[in-house]
């Protein structure tokens, strides 16, 4: 292939390029010229940029060039397919019984036998990206969505994803449709060998429609996975979407996840991310208010131990007036874990009556745990209300003593306070069943980390 390669290319970066050359002809859309060009252009960008490193401001705390020493080969279909029992084991209490529409993607490919997407009628379309790309009536729409991403061209993670994406979920909720059950997209590893998995999801919620979409990223077989997923979301005028991501991949998995969210007039979006897994994870959220009167609530709960590292980086773009954004991100950090929060809120000229508030909080349990928080406001309009805050601290000894003086054993008292801390973020999840399932996971994390 013909493009410029950065001079400091690492072995892993070269391997990723070579993977692309090896599998490009089998990837979805390979026989479509526009689609193939999209991929090769993206790979050319990645080749020039390389994996991001700490000298790039946005990646100051999360140096992928240093962390990714070895590029696992692209995901193949698992020798032994994932079955219902695997899914049951992966989901755990609360989620396995969730009444929902479900799509399962094992390694790099959707598994139709495990996906329950019947009886949707014309209210909703759920299919695999692979299938959508193969559909002559859909391909142009897919290409248009992929071309118009919110991430800047110099985001290497997204460029790598565009080049390598092998599958994902395409979910389109019809205008005015109210989907009452959550739509659960489950991503697992079924392969036993190390793999790089690249997924792209496209979500469109039609005008006035309502839906709840849950993405679960987990490992069933190999935990040696580099997962790079990009989810593009468009919420139509007056539509509502609750969007939740759960990531509980075993160590030493690495998770790179990018959400790109466009909100139209009066849309209401609630995004929530629960992170307890992976040795290293980076959650990027690009959110843009395209039209007036929309609101976005972004929240997250991250619970880490050992040497886990998790980074949440937000770009909230108030490009239209009278929009409201709220962010609340909480981190519980044990042992030598490191939590990173970078939140950039940008208010464009003319985006009057913008109302933006942001809060990030770290609770340090481990003596060597670290929380780095970097809020950033960039305001080019004068009639706005914006604020941000950040706290980092240990368990409040006064509160702990009060609980213990009432007879609660120290560990129970600590667990109460940690759950209270993280519970404030979990309260942002409106769906009761999902919220309770997440609470159970948080409680299980507590007993796990103490053991």
């Amino acid at each position: 292939m013909n493009y410029a390669v950065q001079s400091t290319e690492t072995e892993a970066e070269r391997a990723l390029r070579e993977h692309f050359d090896a599998i490009a002809s089998e990837l979805p859309g390979a026989d479509d010229a526009a689609f193939a060009k999209l991929r090769s252009d993206a790979m050319a960008r990645f080749a020039k940029l390389g994996l991001p490193h700490r000298r790039i401001e946005e990646w100051k705390y999360t140096d992928l060039k240093a962390a990714i020493k070895e590029a696992y080969p692209p995901a193949k279909d698992a020798a032994e397919p994932i079955d219902e029992n695997d899914i049951y084991d992966v989901l755990g209490r609360g989620f396995d019984e969730l009444l929902c529409y479900r799509i399962v993607v094992a390694d790099g490919r959707l598994v139709p036998e495990l996906s329950h997407i019947d009886g949707l009628g014309d209210r909703m379309e759920i299919r695999s990206l692979r299938e959508a790309v193969a559909d002559d009536d859909r391909r142009a729409w897919v290409v248009a969505e992929l071309e118009g991403t919110l991430a800047p061209d110099n985001d290497p993670v997204v460029a790598l994803n565009t080049a390598l994406m092998s599958d994902g979920a395409v979910i389109r909720v019809a205008e005015g449709a109210e989907i009452n059950r959550p739509i659960h997209v489950v991503f697992v590893t079924g392969a036993t060998e190390p793999e790089t998995v690249s997924l792209r999801n496209l979500i469109e919620v039609g005008v006035g429609a309502r839906a709840t979409i849950l993405e679960t990223y987990s490992t069933r077989r190999t935990p040696q996975v580099l997962r790079n997923s990009v989810t593009q979301v468009r919420v139509g005028a007056e539509a509502r979407l609750a969007h939740i991501k759960l990531q509980n991949q075993a160590m030493p998995a690495r998770d790179l996840a990018t959400w790109m969210v466009r909100l139209h007039e009066g849309a209401q979006y609630r995004g929530f991310q629960f992170t307890i897994g992976s040795a290293l994870s980076r959650n990027q959220i690009y959110l843009r208010f395209e039209e007036p009167g929309a609101s976005a609530h972004l929240a997250g709960a991250t619970m880490l131990w050992d040497e886990q590292h998790s980074d949440t980086t937000l770009y909230v773009d108030h490009a239209a007036p009278e929009c409201t954004s709220r962010e609340l991100f909480k981190y519980v950090l044990d042992d030598r874990a490191r939590g990173v929060f970078q939140g950039k809120v940008s208010v464009k000229p003319g985006a009057q009556k913008t109302d933006g508030k942001q809060m990030a909080q770290g609770l340090l349990l481990g003596q060597f745990a670290e929380f780095d928080s970097k809020p950033e406001l960039e305001i080019f309009a004068d009639d706005v209300v914006c604020g941000h805050g950040s706290t980092s601290g240990q368990i409040d000894e006064t509160q702990l003593f009060y609980l213990r003086a009432r007879g609660l054993p120290e560990e129970v008292a600590r667990a109460f306070l940690i759950q209270a801390f993280i519970g404030e973020a979990l309260a942002e999840v409106e769906n009761e069943e999902i919220r309770e399932a997440l609470r159970m996971m948080a409680a299980a994390w507590l007993s796990h980390s103490r053991a």
Binding site: G407, L408, F416, A420
Partner: protein, 251 residues
């Protein structure tokens, strides 16, 4: 019987002694009052009995039923029967009051070798005690002490005391911030607990409380020492003459 013997206490960081040799004995079943000027060490004494880690005992001992409390964790002291009603009850956002109360009641029942209560049984008990203390159901639905008024916090302390069935109660200025009706309700709550197997120590600035909770003995703590002890009349005298005499003496 609670026996405090020559208790010397300083803060972990500071060399200055806050308690400078406290001697105090409260026989089982009695109610004693401790009075004394601001900053004399009353709350410090209460905290040290309850096991707060900010303080260091450099000399002396605290015995409850003949056993030293000093090496016990706060929760072990609670299991041994101790209850401290805080001068400043702590707000704990995110902790549901009822969940906390049930966990505490059952932790203590278990530690004391009793039967744990099921949810329904606990709810019944909590309602009954809350009604008696005028603690509304709405308050019980809020996070622990969060947004409670000063008086509401004090009533919540007494509700906890009623539920946790302690044998040694220390009330640190539970009367401060209470209106007249609340004072009576709280005093009735304390008096209801009075009995041969309950030892009670009330720390207060106001003789008024002692009209409702009539003490067997009154002690004056000044500059980290008990400087005077007497019958309930002592409180009346203090009301008139203040602490000036003792402060000179202790200096």
């Amino acid at each position: 019987m609670l026996e405090i013997k020559n208790l010397h206490v300083k803060t972990a960081e500071d060399e200055n002694e806050i308690l400078r040799g406290v001697d105090l004995t409260i026989p089982e079943g009695e109610v004693h009052a401790i009075m004394g000027p601001n900053g004399s060490g009353k709350s410090t004494l209460a905290y040290v009995i309850a096991g707060k880690e900010d303080y260091e005992v450099t000399e002396g001992d605290i015995l409850w039923k003949g056993e030293s409390l000093l090496e016990m964790a706060p929760e072990e002291r609670a299991a041994a029967g101790l209850f401290l009603a805080f001068q400043y009850p702590v707000e704990i956002p995110g902790v549901a009051t009822m969940t906390f109360l049930r966990t505490a009641v059952n932790a203590l029942r278990k530690a004391r070798g009793g039967e744990e209560l099921d949810v329904a049984g606990f709810m019944r008990l909590a309602r009954e005690k809350a009604d008696a203390l005028n603690v509304s159901q709405e308050m019980l639905k809020r996070p622990l002490n969060v947004g409670f008024s000063g008086g509401e916090k004090k009533r919540m302390e007494i509700l906890q005391m009623a539920l946790l069935e302690p044998s040694l109660c220390i009330l640190d200025e539970t009367d401060s911030g209470l209106d007249i009706d609340a004072l009576r309700i709280v005093a009735e709550g304390v008096n209801a607990l009075r009995g041969p197997e309950r030892t009670i120590c009330v720390i207060t600035h106001y003789q008024r409380l002692l009209n409702y909770i009539v003490p067997d003995r009154v002690h004056v703590l000044s500059k980290g020492r008990i400087v005077e002890s007497g019958g309930k009349e002592l409180a009346l005298e203090l009301e008139k003459s203040g602490y000036a005499a003792y402060q000179d003496e202790a200096a």
